[in-house]
């Protein structure tokens, strides 16, 4: 970070600190603690995210997203300020209990989870003479409530693991909430030496299909691949994906709507299910084009042969043998 950007960060943080202090006096958070936490976050997440030095504009965007009051409260709680704990308990305990009840199987489990999270938040481990509070891990990049939701989710998973003898987290997500872990794909390879010639052709078309599809996927940007995986692998519904991108500062939304006229005219317009459907269609349009280009130019297939590839792939789908060798 150049000295000018560094100074900008320092000044902006001092201003934010004054605002937080005015809104919640007597929480015992010093400017040094507050600035130190933000500087650590910048160094940990913002600076290494790209090879280019952080710009003033990026710092501004980062600070605009920062949940400063939540961070202020969390820092006060981490040092054990009584007033801060009182505030925290009043603002968040009932929400934590509701989240735990939603995720856990029984009322007793939910209470146990909230208790365990409170203990973690306070901190029982002492390092170099200082108690380590879990609040110290909260950076203010998301809301404190959202962070607590994540912490509780993990705690429910841990509780489940403890009760079920260390099963994998992927397996766990099947059993928690409305979990939709990805399906296990059949990886049987067809065997047998019958119909050798037809098998050879089939094998050629099959490998051309797989290679071309892999190339088509690679031609997508990461946010497009992520969208497709949310949709097809994780089974997220359109409204759930729109929820993920409803924040007007959401980077997902920024990337998908880079050239959108609607976005330019109304930057805060809602992301509807139809909006997400259009994003999916656009991603598919890229894959389809690239898939056909690959089959034509790299594998020298005609339009009729491409159809045959799709027919064979569909047949393989039903027998569960398509893409079976992807992992090998």
């Amino acid at each position: 970070m150049n000295p000018e950007t560094s100074q900008f960060l320092k000044d902006a943080v001092a201003e934010i600190y004054q605002r937080c202090e005015a809104e919640a006096p007597n929480l015992g958070v010093s400017l040094d603690d507050f600035a130190g936490s933000i500087e650590r976050t910048v160094a940990k997440y913002l600076e290494p995210a790209s090879d280019t030095p952080v710009t003033t504009e990026e710092i501004r965007e980062f600070l605009n997203n920062l949940q400063a009051n939540d961070l202020f409260l969390a820092l006060a709680c981490s040092v054990g300020n009584e007033r801060a704990w009182w505030e925290f308990d009043q603002q968040h305990r009932s929400y934590m209990e509701r989240v735990a009840r939603h995720l856990a199987k029984t009322e007793i489990d939910a209470t146990e989870v909230v208790d365990a999270v409170y203990v973690e938040l306070y901190g029982t481990r002492v390092v170099d003479g200082e108690r380590v509070s879990k609040f110290a891990l909260y950076s203010g990049r998301g809301s404190l409530r959202g962070w607590l939701r994540t912490v509780i989710w993990h705690s429910v998973v841990d509780q489940h693991r403890a009760g079920h003898g260390e099963v994998s987290l992927d397996e766990m997500t099947d059993n928690i909430g409305e979990g939709a872990a990805h399906a296990n794909f059949a990886i049987e390879n067809p065997t047998g030496e019958d119909a050798a010639e037809s098998d050879l052709i089939r094998s050629r078309y099959r490998s051309a299909t797989v290679e071309s599809l892999a190339a088509a996927m690679l031609s997508l940007d990461a946010h497009e691949r992520l969208l497709l995986k949310y949709y097809h692998v994780d089974g997220l519904k359109l409204r759930e994906i729109s929820r993920l991108s409803e924040n007007e500062n959401s980077p997902l939304r920024d990337w998908f709507q880079r050239r959108s006229q609607t976005r330019e005219a109304k930057p805060d317009a809602k992301v509807y299910e139809s909006t997400v459907m259009r994003w999916l269609e656009k991603s598919y349009a890229i894959i389809q084009q690239r898939f056909k280009d690959e089959l034509t130019s790299k594998h020298g297939l005609s339009a009729k042969e491409i159809e045959l590839c799709l027919d064979l792939a569909t047949e393989d789908l039903h027998s569960g043998s398509l893409f079976g060798n992807l992992g090998s």
């Binding site: 913002l46 995210a49 965007e61 980062f62 997203n65 704990w85 505030e87 308990d89 305990r93 009932s94 509701r98 989240v99 939603h102 029984t106 007793i108 306070y122 891990l137 990049r141 959202g146 994540t150 989710w153 987290l169 909430g177 409305e178 939709a180 296990n184 794909f185 996927m217 946010h223 992520l226 995986k229 949310y230 949709y231 097809h232 994780d234 997220l236 519904k237 359109l238 929820r243 993920l244 924040n247 980077p251 920024d254 006229q261 609607t262 509807y272 139809s274 909006t275 459907m277 259009r278 999916l280 598919y284 894959i287 389809q288 799709l310 789908l317 398509l322 893409f323 079976g324 992992g327």
Partner: protein, 139 residues
């Protein structure tokens, strides 16, 4: 094969093939990645991350089924909680000091441990968005 809502303008057969490809691809690459911390997962699911920070996170999520799965759970939990949030009433319990909160927890833990011994066993773009917006307003 996994069931999913069909994308209207894309051939069903091709969608099914792509879906299976993504599922197979996902199960081959998730294992060896270093996972994302809670703080980052929260910021991502809330969409409150700058583009610079989000870029490596999105790339990771596109490859890592484990972390993506957590974001899926978080979005669903958040949506389930959102309705309740709107009608949230003031908490019945009295706000507490740290010591009273913790001593309550400790005593509950001990009680529960005792009890457990006995209880073992239990263009179009604009048009469509305008329509959607109108519908939204009516609702």
């Amino acid at each position: 094969m996994k069931e999913f809502e069909k994308i209207a303008k894309v051939n069903d057969r091709f969608q099914a093939i792509v879906a299976e490809f993504l599922i197979a691809d996902d199960s081959t690459i998730s294992g060896s990645l270093q996972h994302i911390d809670d703080d980052t997962l929260t910021a991502f699911t809330e969409g409150s991350m700058s583009q610079r920070e989000a870029k490596p996170v999105v790339a990771h999520l596109a490859a890592c089924g484990h972390c993506r799965n957590i974001t899926v759970e978080l979005v669903r939990t958040e949506m389930a909680m959102a309705g309740e949030d709107r009608t949230e009433m003031a908490t019945e319990s009295t706000p507490a000091t740290i010591s009273s909160v913790l001593s309550g927890i400790v005593s509950r833990l001990f009680e529960r441990n005792d009890a457990a011994v006995f209880a073992h066993g239990e263009k179009e773009e604009d048009d469509e968005e305008d329509k959607a917006e109108e519908k939204d307003k009516k609702e």
